[in-house]
């Protein structure tokens, strides 16, 4: 998989590292949808998790895709500014993304472009702020 991604993305692949069963890569937001689609085509059909981490300097969105048959994981990371972030949605690739992205929006304030129903999911509708930011 690593070779495939390196071939497809070339320069755009900002980082690439195999740690145990995880293939950790970093891409730009524009490549998010093509990369996830590619992974899904190659057996990574289980969208285990989508979340974000506030690293103080930036937000890192973490997409964990697993190939159920082999147990191999591709962890796609995307950098985003801590406020005003706009990231393309992957809900067209994986159905689970709809709610997962709503949660990231709710707790981190990341707006997902093209999302069918982007609104808060855990907090009340009139909550101000995004609590999981540091």
């Amino acid at each position: 998989m690593m070779e495939l991604l390196q071939k497809e993305l070339g320069e755009a692949l900002q980082a690439c590292e195999q740690v145990g069963k995880e293939l950790r890569i970093r891409v730009t937001p524009q490549q998010l949808v093509p990369v996830t689609r590619l992974c899904k085509q190659h057996g990574y059909t289980y969208p285990c998790d989508i979340t974000a981490v506030d690293m103080r300097t930036e937000l890192v969105l973490v997409y964990r895709l697993i190939a159920p048959d082999s147990g191999e994981q591709v962890v796609v990371k995307v950098g985003a500014p801590r406020s005003g972030a706009r990231i393309p949605t992957v809900s067209g690739v994986y159905g689970a993304a709809e709610w997962l992205e709503r949660e990231v929006y709710d707790l981190f304030g990341v707006r997902f472009e093209g999302h069918p129903d982007l609104r808060r999911i855990l907090l009340t509708d009139d909550w101000e702020g995004h609590p999981l930011l540091k």
Binding site: K21, E22, T45, Y46, P47, C48, D49, T51, V53, D54, M55, V62, R64, P68, G71, Q73, Y94, G95, A96, E98, W99, L107, R120, I121, L122, L123, T124, P131, L132, K134
Partner: protein, 369 residues
């Protein structure tokens, strides 16, 4: 003539957040056309306690009891995922005895959780007596845990590096007794539920979840295995002592409520087998690795996965080398199953909503965290 002049309209009915059958504080907005569900919109967050944020303000050992309370019907599996992630970060080797004890805790929790499933599922369908029988059996498991760690529900049996403490002498004989007793009781439930025509009529062919939809929504556990897919974290990425015990992964091809129910019944039997094997083969030794009072994993990240009774429960921990994590992300299976629920409800009748919702066995504690 009369048909076209009768105007019907769709009704939006609100189920919850207080409702006897929503298994917690869940709100389901149902759009009904007569008796048929046209759309269903789950509204969650009523039990959101900000656990992930709390994790950033606690030290690694301090956060452990919080994990018990996420999926409170199966405390050990939450512990297991968190501890797995931290131990991966730190490179801790857990002693063998601890691994086997952990498996015992995990499987006992699995049985307890599935018993609650049987109880509530039967109760929703008005087989009230089965509800009480299952709870009675679960009391035996609670007794075992009380004997071991002193707590019944939020047991915190795990610690970073092992388990809390070693089992007392009375534990193994009592565990063996339980393993001998449960299969007989399960037969009784089979007679009362599985073999009952009315139960079958309420669950067979109801609430279909096709495997493609299940994968798309990242379903796991019995919800996925009830659609014929053989995926179990204990086999996909074995942890603790699961690579050393013999067990079947139970699946059912039907994709309906009955299938999911049968998978859980089968899993209870398999869990009894696993516990019996662990009890027999329990190695001697330490129950906790030497970890030190101050836990400071090196900077990095790790993802711990566990097969909880509901599916894949994952814990993603990011560390910066300090005493508290930078991020603790809890990946709860019920969140995904609830996201898939509208697909399973559309086109079914109001009376089926309760059965379908019960069959996916969600716990709002882990949906909302």
């Amino acid at each position: 003539m009369l048909q076209s002049s009768v105007r019907t309209e769709q009704v939006t009915l609100n189920m919850g957040p207080q409702h006897p059958s929503t298994h917690g504080v869940l709100r389901l907005e149902l759009v009904l056309d007569g008796e048929v569900v046209v759309d269903a919109r789950p509204v969650i967050g009523y039990l959101h306690r900000g656990v992930e944020k709390i994790g950033e303000a606690r030290t690694y050992p301090q956060f452990l009891p919080y994990t018990d309370r996420i999926d409170y019907l199966s405390a050990a599996s939450n512990n297991g995922a968190y501890v797995q992630a931290v131990e991966k970060l730190m490179g801790v080797e857990v002693p063998d005895r601890a691994k086997y004890l952990r498996v015992i805790a995990l499987e006992l929790n699995r049985i307890a959780s599935h018993l609650v499933f049987i109880a509530t599922f039967a109760n929703d369908l008005a087989a009230t007596t089965v509800f009480l029988y299952a709870i009675r059996e679960r009391e035996l498991i609670m007794d075992l845990f009380e004997m071991w760690v002193g707590a019944r529900l939020t047991q915190s049996t795990f610690r970073i590096g092992g388990v809390t403490e070693d089992i007392p002498e009375e534990f193994l004989p009592k565990a063996r007794e339980f393993c001998a007793l449960l299969p007989k009781r399960l037969e009784e439930y089979d007679r009362l539920l599985t073999g009952n025509r009315i139960f079958e009529a309420r669950t067979r062919g109801v609430g279909i979840l096709p495997p493609e939809v299940a994968w798309d929504y990242a379903c796991s556990g019995p919800t996925l295995r009830g659609s014929g897919v053989s995926f179990d974290v204990r086999r996909a990425e074995p942890y603790e002592a699961y690579d050393q015990v013999d067990f079947e992964v139970v699946t059912h091809p039907a994709c309906d409520c009955l299938g999911r129910y049968l998978v859980r019944m089968g899993e209870m039997r398999e869990s009894v087998r696993i516990i019996a094997q662990c009890v027999d083969r329990l190695p001697q030794g330490e129950v906790r690795a030497k970890v030190g009072r101050v836990v400071k994993p090196p900077a990095g990240e790790a993802y711990g996965r566990v097969e909880s009774p509901r599916g894949e429960f994952g814990c993603y921990v990011v560390s910066d080398g300090g005493t508290s994590p930078v991020r603790v992300r809890l990946r709860a299976p019920s969140f995904f199953h609830l996201a898939a629920l509208p697909q399973m409800l559309r086109g079914w009748k109001m009376g089926d909503v309760v059965a379908i919702l019960g069959s996916i066995d969600i716990v709002l504690g882990e949906v909302d965290r």
